[in-house]
């Protein structure tokens, strides 16, 4: 999550560095950077090094736990930049804005930010969604091979190091590493996203089907979220927003 720690000197460089840092922050549900999704309404740094980031989401009622993670991760990513003195991250137009913004600013953690409404921090939730990202990523890597005629049984025998290089593969390795799953060249492509063990031969068709529906689900949600964000903010672009990958 730590952005490249180049020394930022100029005012403009610094604003760019903040945006770059925010590119490392993902929506945990959609597994995409908050920048490309259009969630960064604005980001600015004063000459003295005070950074202010404003975030926005597709609806007033987006899930508060994921919203909290994005605000907290944005705070951490920008705080790690050299030359930045103070950081303020503000989530606008959300039912839990006050609890989230106040909690993150005070570094209170999720449980204290939502006093009495949560029993643990969000590591478990984040891991659950990383596992979904691993399943979706498996489809992204496997689909072109299957389309080119690779047999599912052959896919099962493959290790990551034997696969053609691609952004999807880099991404899959990164997500697996974040979860502590094997991600090196000798790691199998098809693994159980909880244990990291190679999938059993008779489970391969179902595993691939699950990978596919997980990817479809995440991508369809992403499509709906983008559409609603565009409607909510009348098409006003966010900082670093990119068109959907479709």
């Amino acid at each position: 999550m730590t952005p490249t720690a180049t020394a930022v000197t100029g005012f403009r460089d610094r604003a760019e560095a903040v945006l770059k840092a925010l590119e490392t922050v993902r929506d945990p549900e959609l597994d995409e950077p908050i920048t490309s999704l259009g969630f960064v309404a604005s980001c600015a740094v004063s000459a003295a090094g005070d950074a202010q980031v404003r975030l926005r989401l597709p609806t007033y009622f987006c899930a508060p736990n994921f919203a909290y993670l994005m605000v907290a991760d944005a705070y951490d990513a920008v705080s790690a930049l050299p030359g930045v003195r103070n950081v303020e991250v503000v989530l606008d137009d959300h039912f839990a804005s006050d609890a989230i913004n106040g909690g993150v600013a005070a570094q209170a953690g999720f449980v204290r930010s939502f006093d009495g409404e949560a029993v643990s921090e969000l590591h478990g939730l984040r891991a659950d969604f990383l596992r979904k990202a691993v399943m979706a990523g498996t489809d992204q890597v496997a689909r072109p091979l299957l389309s080119a005629g690779t047999d599912p049984a052959a896919l099962l025998a493959m290790n990551l190091g034997e696969l053609p290089p691609s952004r999807a593969l880099d991404r899959l390795r990164q997500r697996r590493a974040e979860l502590g799953l094997p991600a090196g060249d000798d790691a199998p492509l098809l693994v159980d996203p909880v244990t990291g063990a190679r999938v059993a031969a008779d489970s391969v068709p179902l595993h691939l089907r699950k990978a596919k529906v997980t990817r479809v689900s995440i991508e369809a949600n992403s499509g709906i979220c983008r559409g609603m964000l565009a409607h909510r903010y009348q098409g006003t672009k966010g900082q670093g927003q990119t068109p959907p990958p479709e």
Partner: protein, 350 residues
């Protein structure tokens, strides 16, 4: 009914509303939630074709005449099922209550079915109310919104003991169909509120009840699909899939439909317009016209033929609600039984 290319479709809109979300109905002190809720719904409407978009003022409170025209005159619907959502913490008279729906619907005999609702956090008083509603409105179904805020609580799970008590009572009162809508908040907030695991438990423990998961468990289609293959009494409510994706994101609509046809099957999918979010007209017409494109990326999805579309657009819901379907709309025996609970064998052989 909708007639197209010589085929006649009996249309049951199994998920629609008659709400008042105008400022005159906002609870003082909770205006921001009432406003935020209806604006969120309005953004969903933005995913439909531009010519079907309404102003926010019209969207907050549409009239009985608007509804009758949009749903029945223009929208091809034969029977519509009201799905209430109370939200009384934010809307003084409730957002769209069973009583409001029935008050309007009684002027149009035969057009509407009144589902009611319950909230297990309301204890004994809630059970009495459920009994009264079933007796008064003849409800055969309930709509449950698990993320409803209630007196400081931000939602409940259907596997809670309190919920089981209500499900038992509902079943004893003659309720057959449980429509479930997952929302963004549930205690504790550190858990995924959209998780459908609680429905998995209920579906197993209440095999006589049908569980129709509205919006196909969005945003957790994958969890919903895994669960639905294992539970014969779990159905997929298509509201939002057609309304939110068919126009706005065609590729994803194709894929989501393909996944649902694979995991759940055409016998267990029901059309719902989610009116007033989206008008049924463009959804019904577009769905009848829709075909899975003949491209490699869709090659391992089942295809949907005319009989399957007839099931999804009306015959499945008609069977769940014992709605009489005139002979001219019925399917020949070889097309299978609508709403049959045996469609998951596809997955076993995957």
């Amino acid at each position: 009914m909708y007639e197209h290319n010589g085929e006649k479709y009996f249309i049951v809109d199994s998920h629609m509303h008659y709400w008042n979300a105008a400022p005159d109905n906002w609870v003082p002190g909770a205006e921001q939630y009432a406003k935020g809720w209806i604006e969120c719904f309005h953004a969903y409407q933005g995913l439909g074709p531009p010519e079907t978009h309404w102003t926010i003022e019209h969207f907050q409170k549409y009239s009985e005449d608007d509804l009758m025209k949009d749903v029945f005159e223009d929208g091809h619907v034969d029977v519509a099922i009201f799905q209430p959502t109370d939200l009384k913490e934010w809307y003084t008279e409730g957002f769209n209550t069973t009583a409001r729906n029935a008050e309007m619907g009684k002027k149009h005999p035969g057009k509407f079915i009144y589902n009611t609702n319950f909230d297990p956090r309301n204890g004994d008083a809630g059970l009495e109310e459920l009994k009264r509603n079933v007796e008064t409105y003849g409800s055969k179904g309930v709509k449950l919104y698990t993320a409803e805020w209630n007196n400081g609580s931000r939602g409940y799970k259907l596997s809670d003991p309190g919920a089981y008590r209500y499900l038992e009572a509902a079943q004893n009162l003659g309720i057959k169909n449980i429509h479930v809508h997952k929302g963004p908040t549930i205690w504790p907030l550190d858990k995924d509120a959209f998780d459908v695991a609680d429905i998995d438990h209920c579906a197993t423990d209440f095999p006589e009840l049908n569980f129709i998961i509205e919006h196909v468990g969005l945003p957790r289609i994958e969890d919903f699909c895994f669960m639905a293959t294992q539970e014969p009494n779990v159905y997929a409510g298509l509201s939002v899939v057609i309304g939110g994706l068919m126009h706005a994101r065609r590729n994803f609509f194709n894929k989501v439909m393909g996944e649902l046809l694979f995991w759940v099957g055409e016998d267990k999918m029901t059309f719902g317009s989610d009116y007033g979010i989206w008008e049924p007209k463009w959804q019904v017409e577009g769905f009848v016209d829709w075909e899975m494109p003949d491209r490699e990326e869709y090659s391992d999805y089942p295809r949907l033929n005319t009989a399957g579309k007839k099931k999804i657009l009306g015959l499945n819901a008609a069977r769940l609600y014992d709605i009489e379907v005139p002979k001219e709309f019925q399917l020949p025996a070889e097309a299978g039984t609508p709403a049959a609970q045996d469609d998951a064998q596809l997955v076993a052989g995957a």
